[in-house]
């Protein structure tokens, strides 16, 4: 009995000894924590941590997360040059070049690495297709040195695609995929190029590869759904969209789901979604579309809803929605025609006639585009035809596409007087809306003969 009790006491003492931390161990832990804290603070501390997280998020193109980390970093230190640089990078990726320029200037004044700032500006110019020989040489040099490889490949490839150098762009995207095989973006970008070239099967395959790599890659899901819808596979398209994880892209995704439902003939469900979207407002839609790489030149929700209301004979409702759609996008030919039909059925004959006339004029002019395109197919260097197409589309259908056609002239003749004059005129006409347009107009005027 006694020996059993003694054993029990001994075991208890041993267990207590095991559980009691030795003083030495505590000291070591404290020292380690101080060292780590010192290292943490010496490398930028919380701000640095936030920047690192932001940088990682940017690499994954998770811009909302990146912005969140950068907000925290700025809150702690408003003049951290790396934070400013990363904010500039986010602005570049989002296409806000004016904002990017301001942020990079601030980063410069805070002493940020000048070479990296210059590279960032090159990347911005490249993205918009403003590549020149020297810039391309700089990019190639950086790629050889393995500096900012992913960023350069993406911007460079985008830029080449923007100026229709698709083959070279594809080569860069292939390189990117070799370097970073887990990254879904190169496949997505290749899909976009194939789609642009009407190579729909190849585009679909690339989108599917991208989704295979990252099932939450909404841009690829959205692009594939759009493609499937275009190929009249609305059920499959809707299924893809239904599986998108929630996010800032929700409105754009819902608008496409509405389109799927419309194609499937489920008008009631489609109307319900579109009504919800219209209530969300125009600006929210725009932001959402940006997140799926879309720059719609229609207020799609209002325009589509108006067209459906016209089709089912709810002309008052149609008028309301179509007026909203046309307020934001007067060149929306789909809305314009439907608006005319709605007005006609409401007995507003004169106003209807005006809108039919606008539609007629637009269609008459747009009918010439195909003929001009054939002239370009026969001779890609027919810059006059390119400018004429651009002007017709600018007037009647799409500002972005119109500008694209005129700018395409610069691939063949960078100083083309007619093209620069056309763009100067166009940007002048927009200058009351944003100061940027005035700068662009001035830029193009510098190419005109006799310009100061």
């Amino acid at each position: 009995m006694v020996s059993k009790k003694a054993d029990r006491n001994q075991r208890k003492q041993q267990q207590a000894a095991r559980e009691k931390p030795s003083l030495r161990r505590v000291w070591w832990l404290l020292i380690l924590m101080v060292v780590l804290l010192t290292a943490f603070l010496s490398t930028g501390g919380i701000v640095g941590f936030c920047n690192t997280m932001a940088s990682n998020a940017i690499s994954k193109r998770d811009l909302p997360t990146a912005k969140g980390w950068l907000r925290r970093a700025t809150h702690l230190s408003s003049d951290n040059s790396l934070s400013l640089f990363l904010q500039g990078r986010v602005a570049r990726i989002e296409g806000n070049f004016e904002e990017m320029s301001g942020l990079l200037r601030k980063a410069f004044h805070k002493g940020f690495d000048n070479k990296r700032l210059a590279l960032e500006q090159d990347l911005a110019l490249a993205t918009t297709g403003r590549l020149d020989f020297e810039m391309e040489a700089r990019f190639n040099s950086s790629l050889e040195k393995q500096v900012e490889v992913a960023e350069i490949l993406e911007s460079y490839a985008n830029g080449l695609a923007t100026i229709s150098r698709f083959k070279e762009s594809m080569v860069l995207l292939e390189q990117w995929e070799v370097i970073d095989p887990a990254n879904a973006t190169p496949n997505y970008r290749r899909g976009r190029i194939h789609e642009h070239l009407n190579q729909y099967d190849k585009a679909e395959a690339e989108y599917r590869k991208a989704i295979g790599k990252d099932k939450n890659f909404v841009k690829a899901r959205y692009a594939l759904a759009k493609l499937l819808l275009q190929n009249r596979q609305p059920e499959q398209a809707k299924q893809l969209l239904d599986q998108c994880k929630p996010g800032g892209h929700d409105l754009a995704v819902k608008a496409l789901i509405a389109n799927c439902l419309r194609t499937m003939g489920d008008i009631d469900a489609c109307r319900n979604i579109l009504n919800d979207l219209v209530e969300q407002g125009y600006e929210g839609m725009l932001e959402s579309y940006r997140l799926v790489d879309e720059v719609p030149e229609r207020y799609i929700a209002a325009s589509d809803l108006g067209c459906i209301e016209t089709e089912i004979g709810s002309f008052d409702e149609a008028k309301k929605h179509l007026e909203l759609a046309l307020k934001y996008h007067p060149l929306d030919t789909v809305a314009r025609y439907s608006y005319a039909v709605a007005l006609r059925n409401l007995g507003e004959r004169d106003e209807a006639e005006k809108n039919f006339e606008i539609t007629r004029r637009a269609r008459d002019e747009l009918n010439q585009v195909r003929v001009l395109q054939e002239a370009i197919e026969a001779n890609p260097e027919d810059t006059d035809a390119r400018i004429e197409i651009g002007k017709i589309i600018l007037r009647n259908e799409s500002e972005r596409t119109g500008v694209f056609w005129i700018e395409s002239v610069f691939s063949y003749d960078p100083t083309n007087q007619k093209a620069h004059a056309a763009l100067a005129e166009y940007f002048d006409s927009k200058s009351d809306k944003q100061e940027n347009y005035l700068k662009l107009a001035e830029y193009h005027r510098t190419f005109l003969r006799g310009a100061p």
Partner: protein, 575 residues
């Protein structure tokens, strides 16, 4: 009524025995036909099943092939159109016969070689006999596409017009089984590339006039090389060639015509492939709708005295629901929603949906393609010939479409395509019907023309299809349950003989149904000038109102069912 009593007799309406008005009764009673007893039983039932169609051309001895000459590999643009067909009772035996244009070949780079058309006499619905040679319709003329027929001199015998590249052929029916080609002699001297044609009395003088669609200014000597998206040599797109203005020939009432299109206000810039003449606004003037390839479709309001006003855009029928011009080919008129107003159905090119324009009255239309479910059918089809009729005997009109590509190497599509049977579900929805795997509708064809006709006189509508470089086909409608049916042939006495433009409204205890007699329609094809009504067996027509083309109205109470009836226009009726 048992089927044994549903023998196919022609009923002359009592007050229409107007032999002096040109309605000759000879041959008005088609021979009796033996009926399948299993069908007799099924007629007794009230439920209506969907139709089943069986390929019968071979069994009936009909073996026409339209040739487009593509084997020369010149990728001539003319190859793409193909050929249509005409259903006509040329010998007035009560059985509708078939005519097919022959097409042509392209032996060299300087000329097109025409091929003869073929005429097939329907022998009591049991076989079709090739009578091309004895009837003299095989005279070579042009590289042919379309066929249209109508009674141009009101003698009861239909004439036959053939359209094509480089001119027209008009075969005048001699009434003895032979024809004389006389286009130039009667003033049809058009030399352009003609496609579809519609007979219609545009100035209400009692004689049919002629609207002819012209396509584009292409010649074999101006045959540029074009490539498809796959970079293969292929047929050029229509944008490559300027469009040609359509034309109108007005009847001089003496078996001759005068060209009048310059005076009538025709739009100058179409690329016409299809035309339909129908009274769309319930006035006394027949209107015209033209399907153009990639340019706005035209709607001509006939304001009387043959003044035409093009109102396509304002009417809502020029463009699709997106406000875009389509590559339109085939046309039909139907009242899909039973509101007693004729709606317009248009078949279009691939990546465009077919279009249904709902008639809101006063020539105002709305494109209702989405809300009727047509978009759900898909846009992979290159739609050509089409027709609307009640094939399943449920009272509403269904739609049939012949599809087939114009390109020889289409990207993401096939040259041969499925034809479509689109069922009207009676709730303003149009749904594609699926068939068994061995059915004609489950196989791919290079379709062009299609027309409904009751070749076997059993009261349901069969179909005739034309294809490119493939044998034409006759589909026998084998619906087991027919319910009640009525087939009316109208005979105009004051109006044009074929009564093109007439509108019939049938009232039953449950609903009203509207049908019209149209000129033209489908694609390069002529359908019979007959009106077909069908209803479930518990439902019957209690009152039939006929609005004749000259705007007079006659009424028949409880018209006899399950038989053909000839309705003759009374000469004095209230307007």
């Amino acid at each position: 009524m048992t089927l044994s009593r549903r023998v196919l007799t022609w009923l002359l309406i009592a007050n229409c025995l107007l032999l002096d008005a040109g309605c000759d009764q000879r041959n008005s009673s088609p021979p009796l036909q033996e009926k399948n007893t299993s069908k007799t039983r099924s007629v007794e039932t009230s439920s209506i099943s969907s139709p089943q169609f069986h390929q019968m051309a071979q069994q009936l001895g009909m073996d026409h092939v339209y040739r487009n000459g593509e084997e020369s590999n010149r990728y001539a643009y003319v190859e793409s159109l193909g050929g249509g067909l005409a259903t006509l009772d040329f010998d007035r035996d009560g059985w509708f016969d078939l005519f097919f244009p022959g097409g042509g070949s392209i032996p060299n780079d300087t000329a097109l070689q025409p091929l003869p058309g073929t005429l097939w006499r329907n022998e009591n619905g049991v076989r079709f006999l090739n009578v091309s040679e004895v009837s003299l319709v095989n005279k070579l003329g042009v590289y042919s596409h379309g066929a249209a027929s109508g009674d141009l001199d009101n003698d009861g015998f239909p004439e036959l017009l053939i359209t094509g590249h480089g001119g027209l052929q008009l075969f005048w029916n001699q009434g003895d089984g032979t024809w004389i080609e006389c286009a130039a002699e009667v003033g049809l001297t058009d030399q352009s590339w003609s496609t579809s044609a519609a007979f219609a009395d545009l100035n209400n003088d009692g004689f049919s006039d002629l609207y002819i669609t012209h396509y584009v200014d292409w010649r074999i000597t101006n045959n540029p090389p074009c490539t498809s998206a796959s970079n293969d040599r292929d047929i050029c797109p229509p944008a490559r060639f300027p469009g040609l203005p359509d034309l109108i020939y007005m009847s001089n009432q003496d078996r001759s015509f005068r060209r009048c299109d310059q005076n009538l206000g025709l739009a100058p810039d179409g690329k016409g492939l299809g035309v339909i003449a129908a009274n769309l606004d319930d006035d006394k003037n027949i209107d015209l709708y033209v399907a153009n390839d990639t340019t706005n479709n035209f709607l001509y309001r006939n304001t009387g005295m043959s003044n035409l006003q093009e109102i396509g855009l304002q009417s809502g029928t020029a463009l699709d629901e997106r406000g875009l011009a389509n590559g339109s080919m085939g046309l039909a008129i139907l009242d899909y929603d039973a509101d007693l107003k004729p709606d317009v159905w248009v078949t279009n090119y691939e990546n465009e949906t077919f279009a249904l324009y709902k008639n809101d009255g006063d020539l105002q239309f709305r494109c209702v393609t989405t809300s009727t479910g047509i978009t759900a059918i898909g846009n992979l089809y290159v739609g050509f010939g089409t027709c609307a009729a009640d094939f399943d005997h449920d009272g509403d009109e269904d739609i049939v479409v012949a599809n087939g590509h114009v390109m020889r190497h289409p990207v993401s599509n096939s040259v041969d395509q499925y034809p479509l049977f689109i069922e009207n579900n009676g709730s303003k929805r149009l749904v594609r019907k699926q068939f068994h795997a061995d059915n004609y509708f489950s196989k791919k064809w290079r379709g062009r023309g299609v027309a409904p006709f009751d070749f076997d006189h059993d009261g349901d509508l069969d179909l005739a299809f034309s294809h490119v470089n493939q044998p034409a086909e006759i589909l026998q409608n084998e619906s087991l349950e027919k319910g009640n049916w009525w087939i009316f042939q109208l005979c105009g006495t004051v109006s044009n003989r074929d009564a093109i433009g007439a509108r019939l409204i049938a009232s039953t205890s449950k609903r009203k149904l509207m049908r019209t007699i149209i000129g033209g329609g489908s694609y390069l094809t002529q359908a019979p000038y007959l009106v077909h009504f069908a209803l479930p067996s518990e439902e019957t027509i209690e009152r039939l109102e006929i609005r004749w083309p000259n705007d007079t109205v006659s009424t028949i109470l409880s018209p006899v069912r399950n038989q053909y009836s000839l309705l003759v226009e009374p000469q004095s009726l209230p307007r």
